[in-house]
């Protein structure tokens, strides 16, 4: 009996491919035959069958009873085992990053305010200088 860790490796490896994830997403909507599954992917049936084998070995899909169609269906429990880990991990970090979003908004606003203040000061200095210069010119006259 393989360990949980080994089982998860097989599942994660199976999930590391975008076509296989798309197949799982399709099967989440209901079971489908190999023929039906190969249609949206612009792939030959043997190519799709290869992907299905990987998913089957990982226990992520199984075959239905209908002998002719052999429809594949999602083994949601198995997928949950892997996605729960990833999803919990993701949620933990997402909570951190949402706090960071708020902080970045603050920092952005502060920076904007500082830039505006500097601009204002610059303008003031410039107009002061201009006034001084025009005074000097008047004195010179």
């Amino acid at each position: 009996m393989p360990s949980t860790s080994q089982r998860l490796d097989v599942i994660f490896a199976a999930l590391a491919d975008s076509t296989r994830r798309a197949i799982l997403a399709r099967l989440a909507a209901g079971q489908a035959s190999v023929n039906e599954l190969s249609r949206p992917f612009a792939m030959s049936q043997p190519a799709i069958s290869k992907h299905l084998k990987v998913l089957e070995r990982a226990g992520l899909i199984s075959r239905g009873q209908d002998r002719q169609r052999r429809p594949r269906r999602l083994e949601a429990k198995r997928l949950k085992e892997a996605t729960e880990w990833l999803e919990r991990y993701r949620q933990l970090w997402e909570a951190n990053f949402q706090r960071l979003d708020t902080l970045l908004d603050e920092l952005n606003a502060e920076e904007l305010a500082t830039a505006e203040l500097k601009n204002k000061e610059k303008k003031q200095r410039r107009s002061k200088r201009r006034r001084r210069e025009s005074n000097d010119t008047q004195h010179a006259i």
């Binding site: 860790s5 998860l8 490796d9 994660f12 490896a13 999930l15 590391a16 975008s18 994830r21 798309a22 799982l24 997403a25 989440a28 949601a76 997928l79 949950k80 996605t83 729960e84 880990w85 990833l86 999803e87 919990r88 991990y89 993701r90 949620q91 933990l92 970090w93 997402e94 909570a95 951190n96 990053f97 706090r99 960071l100 979003d101 708020t102 902080l103 970045l104 908004d105 920092l107 952005n108 920076e111």
Partner: protein, 169 residues
């Protein structure tokens, strides 16, 4: 099935190989600002907290390659947790490479953080490379151990998130 479009990038977590975890997220700020938020203790303490109830009590950051860093958190029940390591590369505001050892857990991992700026937004990518797949899986499990309470009924949403992520890449 409807999905609300997040105003910012939602965090994507992937496992591209047996020994890696990769996190990607977009932040609505220039990378200079994001980099600061990752490297200034007074800023880090405000967001790097984990589940509710945890407070960051030690935050020593590395300024350059060769420096050590150390983070510690304390829970309201008194539980303490810490992590730290050595900075290998510090290239503000683009890239940080460091090692990490978590308290009470064997092994060391290598974290490579990259900040890419585009049109005033920053894409953050952190690659965590572990010594083995067992260590990697233990790190993934840590999210569970820390007791984050979330719903189990998110399979479909998860799948479509993965799907949208795959379509984008």
């Amino acid at each position: 099935m409807t999905h609300s479009t997040p105003s910012r990038g939602t965090l994507k977590v992937t496992t591209p190989s047996d020994r890696e975890i990769v996190m990607t997220r977009v932040f609505n700020a220039p990378r200079r600002v994001v980099f600061e938020a990752f490297n200034k203790p007074e800023l880090l303490k405000r967001w790097l907290l984990g589940p509710p109830g945890w407070e960051m009590v030690v935050c020593e950051v590395a300024a350059k390659a060769g420096d050590k860093y150390r983070y510690e958190w304390r829970n309201t029940d008194g539980t303490q947790f810490g992590t730290g390591g050595v900075c290998v590369e510090m290239a503000p505001p683009e890239r940080i490479v460091c090692t990490e050892r978590m308290d009470g857990r064997p092994g060391e991992s290598r974290l490579t953080t990259v900040f890419n700026e585009n049109a005033g937004k920053t894409t953050f990518t952190m690659t965590m490379l572990f010594e083995s797949r067992e260590r990697r899986d233990e790190a993934l499990k840590s999210g569970m151990e820390k007791g984050v309470a979330i719903s189990y009924d998110r399979l479909e949403e998860m799948l479509s998130t993965m799907e949208r992520g795959a379509a984008k890449s």
